[in-house]
């Protein structure tokens, strides 16, 4: 190797040995679980392994060993989706992540060793995070992608030196060689890589073809091996499946917590915040149920996520059983760096004379979040002025997260505290308004004649009217038909 140590690539391979079973069963359960493919066991969890079940044995054999075994048909689509999700998860360690189907991830880590204070620390971090997720993987480190993959599969100690030397003791059946070539090599008496790599390349080329020698060169790093890195797509999907049906929604809290923790890591790794995420509760024999959790402001606070999710879960009463839980997030926002607040929680006099504190503002958003989560987004809104002279259009409801422009308030005549949404017609004997007794007109008329250019033409004379009982009303006479209407109450 001519290149200096500094710009050499270091590849870390995560080999998810139990991926086929872990896509169905992430938590450490006491039940033995095996995954079948074409009637043969291809993967199992540790409990099943401890019972003595072997790979490639038939289901009958497995059942003779234990009757509690849960068998699941392999789902390769799900495996790939999970691998993609894990690749997005691994993005928090390094930006260079490669998916190697069916069960490997390759991470180029030369650039992030300093950040994680050395290889051992980084591996420790990855192992702990994987434990939290509930996945098991073997780790292998080497100078080329293929060698790292080989090291992960054979569980060899990390190698940061020459690739070809480190590969020497590896048996050739651990390499990705076609069965025909492998057989010929074994017949030639070649058992490990030391012997294989000692052979002249052009001879191998003539005998086994260009693809084989190309593979060997990429394995040892003599030829570059370009990889297709994942792009950090801002989307988040994660699923937890339950072996037995979950019947009480309270017991969903732990899996929900785990999913929200993943979402938090995902967001932190990308410096993003989320404004909305949705949960999907599914069961094979019921219709799936989806609920959205909306936030007034984009946020990345797992505690608040959990609280809002619990509020939503409390409202679900028609979901008897659940066997899978999915968390999806699509609406992302860039994280706004929180300005450092030395005197956290202290109230400062602002330019406009009011006193605000950071803690107060956070609390205010929290209440809105809670109310929208429990009551729905329509049941909670703010008020704003609108630039229109028609009384019913002089205001509009606004969402509380929106930054509102300040509409200028125009001096008008007296306005009532309550405006009736549909003004009722008043009786008018003698052309004066009556409402269970005569109304005395106190002030007016204030003529509002507006909107002849659009559909809501208004031409009215407004009066303040007093009822005999002492209440004050805002009434108007429609000029088109001389009819009296009640429009507001001076409460």
């Amino acid at each position: 190797m001519n290149t200096s140590k500094n710009d050499r690539e270091i590849w870390l391979c995560l080999n998810f040995t139990r991926l086929p079973v872990e896509v169905f069963n992430r938590q450490q359960s006491e039940t033995p679980v095996v995954v079948l493919h074409r009637q043969r066991v291809i993967c199992m969890n540790t409990v099943a392994e401890a019972l003595g079940i072997r790979l490639a044995s038939s289901m009958n054999t497995a059942f003779t060993i234990s009757e509690q075994i849960v068998s699941i048909e392999r789902d390769q689509k799900k495996e790939f989706a999970t691998l993609e999700h894990l690749a997005q998860w691994a993005y928090q360690f390094t930006p260079s992540v490669v998916i190697k189907a069916p069960q490997c991830l390759l991470l180029e880590i030369s650039g992030c060793l300093k950040l994680f204070r050395g290889l051992d620390n980084l591996k420790q971090n990855i192992r702990e995070a994987l434990d939290k997720l509930g996945f098991t993987a073997t780790l292998g480190v080497n100078g080329t992608p293929l060698a790292a993959q080989c090291f992960a599969q054979t569980r060899r100690a990390d190698n940061l030196d020459d690739v070809a030397n480190s590969l020497a003791p590896v048996a050739i059946h651990h390499l990705q060689i076609e069965p025909g070539i492998l057989e010929s090599l074994q017949q030639m008496g070649i058992a490990d890589c030391r012997q294989l790599l000692a052979l002249p390349l052009d001879g191998l080329n003539r005998r086994f073809g260009i693809f084989f020698t190309d593979y060997l060169q990429r394995l040892t790093g003599q030829k570059p091996d370009p990889q297709k890195f994942i792009t950090s797509k801002p989307r988040f999907d994660s699923e937890i499946n339950f072996l037995s049906d979950v019947t009480s929604l309270e017991s969903l809290v732990f899996p929900v917590k785990r999913l929200l923790g993943e979402l938090h890591d995902f967001l932190r790794g990308r410096q993003l915040q989320v404004s909305q995420f949705s949960f999907r509760l599914a069961h094979r024999s019921h219709a799936a149920k989806t609920f959205n959790v909306m936030l007034a402001n984009p946020d990345n606070d797992p505690a608040m996520f959990l609280m809002l999710t619990q509020l939503k879960l409390d409202q679900i009463d028609d979901m008897p059983e659940v066997d899978s839980l999915t968390l999806t997030a699509r609406h992302f926002h860039d994280m706004e760096a929180p300005p450092g607040d030395l005197f956290h929680g202290t109230r400062f006099q602002q330019k406009d004379g009011s006193r605000h504190s950071k803690a107060e503002a956070a609390k205010a958003v929290e209440l809105i979040n809670m109310m929208t989560a429990r009551l729905g987004p329509q049941a909670c809104f703010g008020l704003a002025l609108a630039n229109d002279h028609r009384p019913e259009r002089a205001w509009r409801p606004v969402a509380l997260n929106a930054r509102r422009e300040v509409a200028v308030f125009e001096e008008t005549g007296a306005r009532p505290i309550y405006l009736l949404p549909q003004p009722p017609i008043l009786e008018s004997p003698g052309d004066l308004p009556h409402m269970a007794g005569p109304l005395t007109l106190l002030q007016g008329p204030e003529r509002i004649d507006f909107g002849w250019w659009d559909d809501g033409e208004v031409s009215r004379d407004y009066f303040v009217a007093r009822h005999a009982c002492g209440a004050l009303y805002w009434v108007y006479r429609q000029l088109s038909n001389n009819q009296w209407y009640l429009h507001g109450i001076f409460s």
């Binding site: 605000h356 929290e366 429990r374 009551l375 909670c380 008020l383 002025l385 007016g444």
Partner: protein, 253 residues
């Protein structure tokens, strides 16, 4: 006798009605001097449940609050939460009264359970300065819970209730009965009686006047006499020699 009384007062911190005015000075004014004189601490409380009992809409029951709501919305960065108001409070009227509209939140829970949940959580959340509600039916123990929550959150809770509720006792700290008052000097008025307050008895009727001039009589055009203006002959009109412009006088050339 007096010595033992003094000991009792010192040891137990017994509250005496004579201290009604000096103990609660911190309360901000309600905006009505006559009402301030009757309220403990000379103003609206900062927390606790206040019940306003009235049967008639439109007597000024909400305008009684607007001065203090305007001040709270400007001084505090906390919400003013209105829970299921009978009608939507009209923003131009609130803006006229000086209320900062960006502080107002309207919440419309659908079920009675959600209604009480919103009230209690908003009160206890510390993020509202005032929570106003118009409950149709509310039980004593529910009000007591609101009272506790409003103490926790340092939030003022206002409940509008029918006058009939005044017959029964209530855990609310302050109860006022509102009735329409006779207008005074063209201003509408409200008759208030404090039914219950800390450290005081039921008050007499207080008449509060709003400076709204809503009762200013309209000019009566029917009796107006139109005077005939005599035509002035053109020759008798004189043209002035000088015209004042910008405070200086210029003569015609």
């Amino acid at each position: 006798m007096t010595e033992s009384l003094n000991n009792l007062l010192k040891a137990t911190g017994l509250w005496r009605a004579s201290r009604i005015d000096c103990e609660f000075k911190r309360h901000p004014s309600s905006g009505f001097a006559e009402l301030d004189a009757e309220l403990p601490g000379s103003g609206w409380p900062a927390d606790g449940v206040t019940e306003l009992l009235h049967d008639q809409y439109g007597i000024g029951e909400f305008r009684l609050l607007t001065p203090s709501l305007a001040r709270l919305s400007q001084v505090q960065a906390r919400w003013l939460l209105l829970v299921s108001p009978p009608y939507i409070p009209y923003p131009p009227a609130l803006a006229q009264a000086g209320v900062d509209l960006s502080r107002i939140v309207i919440s419309q829970p659908k079920s009675p359970r959600d209604y009480l949940w919103v009230l209690e959580n908003a009160l206890a959340s510390k993020s509202c300065s005032t929570v106003i509600a118009w409950p149709r039916r509310i039980l004593d123990k529910q009000i007591r819970r609101l009272q506790v929550a409003s103490r926790t959150g340092n939030t003022w809770c206002i409940l509008f209730r029918p006058e009939a509720a005044g017959i029964n006792a209530s855990p609310a700290e302050l109860r006022l009965r509102l009735r329409p008052g006779q207008p005074r000097h063209d201003n509408s008025a409200l008759e208030v009686r404090v039914l219950k307050r800390i450290g005081g008895w039921e008050s007499g009727d207080i008449r509060l006047t709003f400076a709204d001039q809503l009762h200013r009589p309209m000019p009566d055009f029917s009796e107006m006499v139109v005077r005939q203006v005599e035509a002035v002959p053109l020759e008798s009109m004189t043209v002035p020699d000088t015209v004042p412009v910008d405070g200086r006088t210029y003569e015609y050339q």
